[in-house]
């Protein structure tokens, strides 16, 4: 390949700098302009094409690979698992959208705690809103077990990044990819990447006279997708909501983003009274899925993650609220 490189260096003088330029330009013309022979240029072109091409794979092989590499991670909450067809699938992006206070961050914490404690695998948590407190993670762990050592071990398996703008997010995702998604001290491999929330860093850039917002959004999406695919992790992102023309609540970031996640869930408060209440009930609606019929709804209680680990006592409110 070094021969190729030196030749490419020479070609720079002819304004052929990128692989695309070399491949798309006329070989005869190039051979005339620079001192490289036509045959050599042809060979270089073939090698470059082979290097950069995507290989077709048979469906059977793909299916085998999928069966062996995809894992389904339970979220820890049976109602959500029912909606998600038993959990988060690795290799895919799942999106949780909802208004403020609808429980998106709580679900993310619950998923992180469940994966790190029950499944004993690592989680990467990227927090862009500042809503993550380790105390809350500890509270959720204390509901699972009262053994402090196990709690500390589980906490060590959650790796937290706190960043607040899209450029840092892109850098972070790129460095994670190039670093091979190394797990933290606690052992186990990384099984989930959670970004809470992706809309907080992208929505200041969308709309108006700015052109960069869309492209940055798609770059983030591309990085998440390839990371999920290459490293067999489940990507979970959260999104805000906006109101459509008819007053309907819909996930934010627009139509372009709506194609990115494979599965989308909309969380809402279950409000009984007209005032802002203190209920911890939430409803989750499946709005996009390739596996389940859409618009199925499940209700759950945010206190699921604060339930006590001990056996069912009559005083547990959760027995009647479990759907």
């Amino acid at each position: 390949m070094s021969e190729d490189v030196t030749r490419q260096q020479r070609d720079k003088t002819l304004k052929v700098e990128e692989v695309e330029d070399l491949v798309s330009s006329d070989t005869e013309e190039l051979a005339q302009k620079c001192s490289v022979s036509y045959k050599a240029l042809f060979a270089i072109r073939r090698v470059l094409l082979a290097q950069h091409t995507a290989f077709p794979v048979s469906g059977a092989d793909l299916y085998e690979e999928l069966l062996s590499s995809t894992a389904i991670l339970s979220t820890g909450n049976p109602s959500l698992d029912k909606l998600l067809d038993s959990g988060l699938y690795t290799g895919e992006i799942t999106e949780l959208s909802g208004g403020p206070g609808s429980g998106k961050s709580q679900v993310c914490f619950g998923v992180a705690v469940h994966i790190s404690y029950q499944l004993k695998q690592s989680v990467i948590f990227i927090d862009t809103t500042g809503g993550l407190t380790a105390k809350r993670l500890l509270q959720m762990l204390q509901a699972e077990t009262s053994n402090t050592e196990e709690q500390m071990e589980a906490l060590q398996r959650i790796r937290i990044f706190r960043l607040f703008d899209v450029f840092t997010l892109l850098d972070c995702l790129r460095s994670l990819r190039s670093g091979g998604l190394q797990a933290s001290v606690g052992g186990g491999s990384v099984k989930a990447v959670i970004v809470d929330s992706v809309s907080a860093v992208i929505s200041p850039l969308l709309g108006g006279k700015q052109n960069e917002g869309m492209s940055l959004m798609i770059q983030v999406a591309g990085l998440l997708k390839t990371t999920a695919k290459d490293f067999n992790v489940a990507a979970l992102v959260t999104n805000h909501v906006t109101r459509s023309g008819g007053g309907e609540v819909q996930p934010g970031l627009g139509v372009s983003w709506s194609h990115i996640p494979r599965t989308r869930i909309l969380l809402e408060r279950v409000e009984k009274a007209a005032t802002i209440g203190c209920s911890s009930r939430r409803s989750a609606t499946l709005i996009k899925s390739s596996r389940q019929p859409c618009h199925i709804k499940e209700e759950f209680d945010l206190q699921w993650w604060s339930r006590s680990a001990e056996g069912s006592s009559g005083k547990r409110k959760l027995d009647e609220t479990d759907s």
Binding site: T129, G130, A134, K135, R136, F161, L163, H240, I276, S280
Partner: protein, 325 residues
């Protein structure tokens, strides 16, 4: 951060002088150095837990509210107070601006405060009242030698001198001030609280395009939480209320739109129920939603008088309310 913001920042640095400009750039890089510049600092949840345990919250002097918030206003997070006029938002802000300066030996944070006033509701005389009440309260509690020594420097004068007051008249001044604040915070590492009273007022005027307002607010929110995390300060904002019409019914909701609801980490709603004032936590990733009662006295923000029964026919005896610390 869009290019426009970068250019504006450079102009601001250059105005500050050549050397300072470079120093400012370095400090800014240093401030963000945790996350930028090759290699990201990530914490495990365990390390974050240990970090959080070292942070103290800012007490509000209402033990019920402090209990609901898990100790008080959390440092390193953004909190928003919504409420109708007259319910006590500015009072709580002034109380917290004094409380952040309580010496560490009394369980306080011993920090300075930057108070950004956009409505002109900062009343110096009220601050003096609250400060004197707090000083009185602490001197009554002073038992150990360390506390007595601390009381000599904890006076109304020092409290006032540790408050940095900024008056912004419109949203452009507010945004500019917040941009320059990062430098200010680097040169004043003792600041532990930033109060913006109110964030709604400048953004409810002069906006023809609501989408531009939403974008600016989203950008503002990210800036604030970045400042809170990197400089370890608590940010407190007040918001006004507006009416939302939904299917023929009207409902009182916080202003600035639903999108703004995602911006603060914790949201408190102060509202009336009859003659009583109630504070409700309605958004918090770390605490349960709950409602507590409070009152505003001449000494500031306090717990409600526990024996007060609105329907009681017995004459109420006025009990001196001293908050449990």
């Amino acid at each position: 951060a869009s290019l426009f913001q970068q250019e504006a920042l450079q102009v601001a640095w250059r105005k500050g002088g050549g050397d300072e400009g470079e120093g400012g750039a370095e400090e800014r890089g240093g401030g963000r150095g945790d996350e930028g510049g090759g290699g990201f600092v990530s914490l495990t949840a365990l390390e974050l837990l240990q970090k959080e345990e070292q942070l103290r919250s800012i007490v509000t002097f209402s033990s019920q509210l402090d209990g609901a918030l898990g100790g008080g206003l959390p440092v390193g997070k953004t909190t928003e107070i919504c409420g109708t006029p007259g319910v006590g938002k500015t009072q709580l802000c002034l109380q917290l601006a004094v409380d952040v300066q309580i010496p560490q030996c009394f369980g306080g944070v011993e920090g300075q405060v930057v108070y950004i006033d956009t409505e002109g509701s900062f009343l110096l005389q009220r601050v003096v009242d609250i400060a004197s009440a707090t000083v009185r309260h602490c001197s009554l509690l002073a038992e150990e030698e360390e506390q007595r020594v601390a009381m000599t420097t904890f006076t109304v004068e020092t409290i006032l001198s540790n408050m940095f007051l900024v008056r912004c008249h419109d949203y452009i001044e507010l945004l500019a001030e917040l941009h320059l604040l990062a430098n200010f915070l680097s040169s004043h590492p003792r600041v532990r609280l930033l109060v913006i009273d109110s964030v709604a007022f400048p953004f409810r005027q002069h906006f023809d395009e609501l989408s531009q307002r939403t974008r600016l607010l989203n950008g503002l929110a990210q800036q604030l939480i970045a400042m809170a995390t990197n400089h370890n300060i608590a940010i407190l904002m007040t918001n006004q209320m507006t009416t939302r019409l939904q299917g023929g019914q009207s409902q009182l909701v916080p202003a600035l739109g639903e999108n703004w609801g995602h911006a603060p980490t914790i949201r408190l709603l102060l509202h009336w129920m009859g003659p009583r004032r109630l504070a409700t936590i309605f958004k918090s990733p770390g605490h349960m939603d709950s409602t507590v009662q409070y009152q505003i006295t001449s000494e500031g923000f306090r717990d409600a008088d526990q024996l007060e029964q609105p329907q009681s026919k017995r004459p109420r005896t006025h009990i001196d309310q001293s908050p449990v610390n």
